[in-house]
Every structure is written in structure tokens, then in C-alpha cells.
């Protein structure tokens, strides 16, 4: 495991040549382990009800936005739209509300999603092992849960109230999901909340621990940067493009087989170049509002964050091909998840 001091030295090294070397090493490893393939997925927001107050999030409980959750019929409408674009990997998201989007609601969403997509992941409120087991049996293959920051003090400052304020419960979520049988777990830190080197080091330790104890799970990581929401900036310490690139490259070198996601939060130029470095999964055709694809008119939407890359799925597929990548839409086939 790389030490915190070494991570700091790399992130603070101003020499462009060291960055280039890091990128070359990361790129070589990515091509060796993933070839020139990029997996595509799309987010689908089911609900923006939230009972947690996180100072940086557009969906937080104190924010006076219109609250929606999709009905079964609206889910079908949204899912059918995404499926027609060619999407097979879907990430279903909600705010963190145990009341508005309880387990039964999520199970229903997964059951409907199974008729449209081959791979279903959830980014929702943390749950217990038993609940993950039920979701797995209802067709959920992946769970995305970011610790946001591993800095306890900072965590407490930005997660003011609600279940999300419980640091330790959140920290144990990947383990509970793994015990529940989930195949794919995505971890992450929200860059901008705390010291990036310290968060990165803690994330590596967490991932390393998970790999050691739950080797059968496929892991991926994400490095979202704090974004403005309708113009307001929440970043505590800005993470610039050079640092983000170094973080992606260093992660690839430390974890050659782990997937690295990049979302539409990033602008097209950075996304396009990052493809060469270590990114293996990107979102396409993203909309971060509830019902944003078909149900809600664009001007009425309150997005969770502002997106920077507005290209359609087809645009992304064509771009990948132009850049000599094979866009992978189908990377799993539902085999009827069973607990053995």
C-alpha cells in the first residue's frame, strides 16, 4: 500500500514530466487489463426526497425544491426511453429517504428495471445486510455508496443531520452490501470536501480492506468533484484538473483491475482525455433530475448537480469509436440472482 506521504508528494509535485510519467504508466496498465473498451451506463433518478441535511447537495432536506418520486408507470416511461438509447447498465438513484423510498419501493423499481436492462445498480440510502440480500434477489447487481470524505471532523461538519450523519454506519455499508451478495460495489470520495491526499489514502485503505475480505466482489471507484448547484459553489478545497488526473492515474497504478468511473459532472474535454488514462466506465446521456428524461419539463427541474457534458448516448458511442475505443453497452446478463 502506498503511504500517505507518497500520495502527498505525488499530488503536490509541480513537475509536468512526473505527471506525464504517471499518465503513461496508468495508460499502459489500463490497456493491459481492460484493452480499449469503455463501459457505458446511465443514471436514472427515481426520487429526490431526502431526510439528510448535507450542506453540499442540491437534494438536501432543508432545500426548498419540488420533491418528486416516480410512480411505477413513470419508471417504465423513463426506463423505456433509456433502453431505447441502447443503455443496458442503469444506475437508479434516490435521495436518502427511508420513508419516501423504502425497501419495497426500491424492490419494485428493480423488478421493473429488470425488464429493460441487463445490469442494475442502486445509489440510494445505506441499508442492512438483509435488505441488500433482498435487493440482490430482486435483480440488483451493484451498489454505489461514497463515503464522501473519510475525514471524521469534516464529515460531521457537512453531514449535519439525518441518517447520513452516522459516519460509521456509512463506512460499513460496502461490507454489508458484499455480505448481502451484491456483485459490484462502487466506492468514492467527493473531491473538494477535505484534503484530497488524505481522503485518497483512506479510500485506498478501505478498498484494500474490502478486496482482502470480499475478494469475489467487483470494485470500482469514482472521484466526483464538488459542483455548483444553480450557480452556488460548495467546494472547501478546489481540486484542479491536474490533481484529478493524478488521482485517476495513481488509482490505476495502485489497483490495476479496479474500474474507474467518470461522470457527466466533468466537462467533455476532460472526459475525452481522461479516457486514455485509466477511466473504464463513463455515464452517457445523463440527466440528474427526477423524471428528467421524459416526465418533467426541463425548465421545471431541480437537478442534484449541474452537468457539464450534455452529449447523448449516441454522441458518446460515436466519439468512443472515433477515438479507437470499443463502447461496451452489454456487460452483464441477468442470471436470476440467488443466495447460495
Amino acid at each position: 500500500m502506498i503511504s500517505l506521504v507518497d500520495i502527498k508528494n505525488i499530488l503536490h509535485d509541480p513537475d509536468p514530466e512526473s505527471t506525464e510519467q504517471l499518465a503513461q504508466d496508468a495508460s499502459r496498465l489500463t490497456r493491459q487489463y481492460f484493452g480499449r473498451t469503455i463501459t457505458l451506463y446511465a443514471p436514472l433518478y427515481l426520487s429526490n426526497f431526502c431526510s439528510s441535511y448535507c450542506t453540499y447537495c442540491g437534494f438536501h432536506s432543508h432545500n426548498r425544491i419540488k420533491r418528486f418520486k416516480l410512480t411505477a408507470e413513470q419508471m417504465r416511461q423513463e426506463m423505456s426511453f433509456l433502453a431505447r438509447q441502447g443503455i443496458e447498465n442503469v444506475l437508479l438513484l434516490t435521495g436518502e429517504s427511508y420513508q419516501a423510498t423504502p425497501l419495497d419501493y426500491l424492490k419494485e423499481a428493480a423488478t421493473i428495471a429488470k425488464t429493460y436492462f441487463s445490469n442494475i445498480s442502486l445509489e440510494v440510502h445505506p441499508m442492512d445486510e438483509k435488505e441488500y440480500q433482498e435487493l440482490f434477489q430482486h435483480g440488483v447487481d451493484g451498489i454505489t455508496v461514497y463515503q464522501e470524505t473519510y475525514d471524521r471532523k469534516r464529515y460531521k461538519e457537512v453531514h449535519v443531520s439525518g441518517k447520513k450523519a452516522d459516519y460509521d454506519y456509512r463506512l460499513g455499508t460496502p461490507e454489508r452490501a458484499a455480505k448481502g451478495g451484491i456483485r459490484h460495489i462502487s466506492l468514492g470520495i467527493l473531491l473538494g470536501l477535505a484534503d484530497p491526499a488524505e481522503d485518497l489514502h483512506a479510500l485506498y485503505q478501505h478498498l484494500h480492506w474490502m478486496e482482502h475480505h470480499y475478494p469475489g466482489v467487483e470494485y470500482s471507484v469514482s472521484f466526483p468533484r464538488l459542483r455548483s448547484i444553480k450557480g452556488t459553489n460548495f467546494a472547501y478545497c478546489d481540486v484542479d484538473d491536474i490533481t484529478l488526473v493524478k488521482i485517476i492515474c495513481l488509482t490505476r497504478i495502485q489497483f490495476p483491475r479496479v474500474g474507474i468511473n467518470l461522470s457527466t459532472r466533468e466537462n467533455a474535454n476532460l472526459r475525452d482525455h481522461a479516457l486514455e488514462l485509466g477511466i473504464t466506465r463513463i455515464s452517457a446521456g445523463s440527466n440528474t433530475s427526477v423524471g428528467g428524461y421524459t416526465v418533467t419539463a426541463a425548465e421545471k427541474q431541480d437537478p442534484q448537480f449541474d452537468i457539464k457534458d450534455r452529449r447523448s448516448v449516441n454522441d458518446i458511442v460515436q466519439l468512443l469509436k472515433q477515438r479507437n475505443f470499443d463502447p461496451v453497452l452489454t456487460d452483464w446478463r441477468g442470471i436470476g440472482n440467488q443466495i447460495d
Binding site: Q32, Y33, G86, G216, V217
Partner: protein, 259 residues
């Protein structure tokens, strides 16, 4: 003259099997199949979606090539069995390469679960080609379970490191009465030649071809290396010795009775 490679009663001239992952486009894959004259190509069921997408990988695999669907993504025997059955129901034939991997870091196959899956699927009439870690007992169990070949890894999948566990593969070649197909880790044609010289019946390569600058060219090089290695094996290649064995001994005169 060489005899054909026989797997489950089917004859193959080529002893080079090709994997289809990691190619940057389907044209490279098609050209690699053509250039190498491979007759068996493996595809992960998880990457096939005939139902919904226009550009399907199977369109790039000629009809005369045997399709070997693999169970990539299976974490245990039951999942491998379910994937195999889905593949058969979807019309992709009954040749199945079992991959049971429950370790995302090293991607090492789980021999015990592989044996279980082989037993179930062979009994259902599948032609089962199991990917395994070269362990003699596991290989014998696979024979008992009804496998059509045994496919030991040369080194970690995708590592390009060659035959890191050569001695144990040699034991399988010596002791197992099924075709031995060395799979995983072969990073250069010389590695493939080495496996064939040892007496392996065939090799399977994917990463080294798919991630090369010119996949078709290296696929052809691999196929040639496989042929060269096979001919060397058939020629009864003199085995390496630990001590010097001079063709003109220097000390023979000391023991010469006729002097």
C-alpha cells in the same frame, strides 16, 4: 505429419484458440480470426446481446468457427451453470468454457467450484472446457466429471507473463488423458511455442492479441508459433539436461578399455 486436435469428437486443424475481449473494435477481431485461421473462438455470454443491439459480436465470427461461450462473471458453480443454460437456450450451442472466478484482484479460477459446474453441465450434455489452476487432483476430478479438455492457466490472466507455473502444467500434460489447452497469461508467440513444445495440445490467447498495436499480425504470429512448437514437440525435441553433454567427450579416453 500431425494429427488433428480432437475435442469431444470434433476435429480441428488449428491448435490456436482466440478470446474476444479487450479488442478496440470488432474489425480487429474479425481480422485476427482470419489471419490466425483459428477454429475455436471464446465469447463471454455477458457481452452478447442479440436481442437489442445492432452491432453484435457474433456477426464478426465466421460460421465455420466453433463458438465457445464462456461463463465470465460466475462467482460459483451455480452461477456458471445458470450462464451455461442461458447460453444454450439463446441458441449459442452446447460448447461451454467454464470460468468460475471469485477473486476480482487476481482473477484466479476456483477449482472446486469448477469441478462441480463441470459435473452438472457434462451430465446435461454440454461439451465442457474448464479453465483451471494447474493442480493434478483437480484435473483428475475434472476428467471424472466429464470435461472435454483441461485448460490450465500459464500465469495470471491478462498478465502477459508466460508459463510461470510450467512444471505443474507439465504434470498435467504427462498425466491427464484429455487435450491440455494452456489458457491465460501467454504474452508473446514464444510463450505459445514453449507451451506447445512441452506437449500442450493447444493454447488460448486473448489479451496479447487484442491489446497489440496490430492484432491481426500478432494473431498470425501466435498461430505460427503454435505450429512451430507443435512440430518441435512431434520431432521429439531433445530434452534439456542439467549437466554438460558434449558431443565430443573430453575425458572418455580415461575409461577406454581398448587402450
Amino acid at each position: 505429419m500431425d494429427t488433428p486436435l480432437e475435442i469431444a469428437g470434433k476435429m480441428f486443424t488449428s491448435r490456436f484458440l482466440l478470446g474476444t475481449g479487450k479488442f478496440k473494435n470488432k474489425t480487429d477481431l474479425a481480422q485476427s480470426i482470419e489471419a490466425s485461421k483459428t477454429e475455436i473462438v471464446t465469447v463471454a455470454l455477458r457481452r452478447i446481446d442479440l436481442e437489442r443491439h445492432d452491432e453484435n459480436i457474433l456477426e464478426y465470427i465466421p460460421k465455420n468457427v466453433t463458438l465457445l461461450v464462456n461463463t465470465s462473471g460466475a462467482r460459483n458453480a451455480k452461477e456458471a451453470v445458470r450462464i451455461a443454460r442461458l447460453a444454450k437456450e439463446a441458441g449459442y450451442g452446447n460448447w461451454i468454457k467454464i470460468e468460475v472466478i471469485n477473486d476480482s484482484k487476481y482473477l484466479l479460477p476456483d477449482n472446486q467450484e469448477t469441478v462441480k459446474a463441470t459435473e452438472i453441465l457434462a451430465a446435461e450434455g454440454f461439451v465442457v472446457l474448464p479453465y483451471m489452476y494447474p493442480d493434478l487432483y483437480a484435473a483428475r476430478a475434472l476428467v471424472q466429471a466429464g470435461a472435454a479438455t483441461v485448460m490450465p492457466l500459464g500465469s495470471l490472466i491478462g498478465s502477459n507473463r508466460g508459463l510461470r507455473i510450467k512444471e505443474f502444467i507439465q504434470i498435467l500434460i504427462n498425466e491427464i488423458d484429455l487435450p491440455i489447452v494452456v489458457d491465460a497469461g501467454l504474452g508473446a508467440p514464444s510463450h505459445a511455442a514453449e507451451a506447445m513444445e512441452m506437449g500442450a495440445d493447444a493454447v488460448l490467447v486473448n489479451t496479447a492479441v487484442a491489446t497489440s498495436g496490430n492484432p491481426a499480425l500478432i494473431a498470425q504470429a501466435f498461430a505460427m508459433a503454435v505450429e512451430a512448437g507443435r512440430l518441435a514437440y512431434l520431432s521429439k525435441l531433445p530434452s534439456p539436461k542439467d549437466n554438460a553433454d558434449a558431443s565430443s567427450p573430453l575425458t572418455g579416453f580415461l575409461y577406454d578399455q581398448s587402450r
